[in-house]
């Protein structure tokens, strides 16, 4: 293993992580819920009538974040290298899998680990292993 020192950004990574943690803390302490992106989106599919559409409001905040980020700090646009076919083939299992497992990188990864949930740790080990294996296959085998 070699470390990619030119792209290694520990300070902004740590600072961004702290902001994500604060967002999770805020939602938890204010309305008692887990912050999870797949849950926010999945909870809208199908849309349910009833209380205030808080999930949609949070999603709206996510989408608006890049506009605010560009004002506050240097924010490069995402460099999405995958082509349309790959994006579709990748997006389908991400959507289906995160609903099947009830969480993704935020719900299980951040919140689950923070509340010391063995169930979330198992989920993290599974999706990390699959992620490592997939990138290995795509970049070094195929």
């Amino acid at each position: 293993m070699t470390i990619d020192w030119t792209h290694f950004t520990p300070l902004s990574a740590l600072a961004g992580g702290v902001l994500i943690g604060l967002a999770a803390a805020w939602l938890l302490l204010e309305n008692g819920r887990i912050l999870g992106a797949s849950g926010l989106l999945g909870g809208l599919i199908p849309p349910r009538a009833g209380d205030r559409p808080w999930r949609a409001e949070a999603i709206f905040g996510l989408v608006l974040a890049p506009f605010v980020a560009r004002v506050l700090f240097d924010t490069p646009s995402p460099a999405i290298a995958a082509g349309p076919a790959t994006l579709i083939v990748a997006g389908l299992p991400v959507g289906f899998g995160t609903r099947l497992a009830n969480g993704c990188t935020s719900g299980h990864g951040v919140c689950g680990l923070a509340r010391l949930s063995p169930r979330s740790l198992a989920a993290i080990l599974a999706f990390m292993a699959a992620g490592f294996a997939t990138v290995f296959a795509v970049r070094h085998v195929l």
């Binding site: 470390i3 990619d4 792209h7 902004s12 990574a13 740590l14 600072a15 961004g16 992580g17 943690g21 604060l22 938890l28 302490l29 204010e30 309305n31 008692g32 819920r33 992106a37 849950g39 989106l41 999945g42 599919i45 199908p46 409001e57 949070a58 999603i59 905040g61 996510l62 890049p66 506009f67 506050l72 995402p78 999405i80 995958a82 994006l87 990748a90 389908l92 991400v94 959507g95 289906f96 899998g97 995160t98 609903r99 099947l100 497992a101 990188t105 935020s106 719900g107 990864g109 951040v110 689950g112 923070a114 063995p118 198992a122 599974a126 999706f127 699959a130 992620g131 490592f132 990138v135």
Partner: protein, 149 residues
């Protein structure tokens, strides 16, 4: 639902994703590529987020209630089963293919990136397939799907 500021929570979450580099799939793939030139940055994202959230959960569990006194609404499932592992493996494969997970993918739409939008449409389609599968919905753990992240 007595949350005053879900929009601001989402905004803060998105700012964290932008600042940390999670919104850039090349950065994510650099982390997942252990055999290549490995970029460990994402471990720092996770570390910073988990440490802050850890203290928040300690406070929340000690209080047993939200700051306004409402009951907590946390997941109750502890099952480590095929559904959890299978779903997470599927998620991991898609994550490794595109370098996008749900939060950053949604945030990247804000960069007016058509590729991110296409990924999110496919992701929503995957969620919709799950939502219409009655066998899965009828499973005993279906309630947890509404609870977890």
């Amino acid at each position: 639902m007595n949350c005053v500021s879900p929009f601001l929570v989402g905004l803060l979450f998105g700012l964290g994703l932008c600042l940390s580099g999670m919104t850039n799939p090349m950065k994510v793939l650099g982390f997942l590529d252990l055999a290549g030139a490995w970029d460990p940055s994402l471990a720092f994202v996770m570390g910073g987020a988990v440490v802050v959230a850890f203290f928040a959960f300690r406070v929340a569990k000690r209080r047993g209630r939200t700051l306004s006194g409402a009951p907590l609404d946390l997941p109750t499932s502890t099952a480590i089963d095929g559904r959890l592992i299978g779903g997470s493996l599927l998620f991991g494969v898609g994550w490794g293919l595109a370098g996008l997970c749900p939060g950053p993918a949604v945030t990247d739409i804000g960069f007016l990136d058509g590729r991110a939008a296409l990924f999110v449409v496919a992701m929503i389609a995957g969620m919709a397939v799950f939502a219409v599968l009655p066998a899965l919905r009828a499973a005993p753990t279906a309630k947890a799907a509404l609870e977890d992240g």
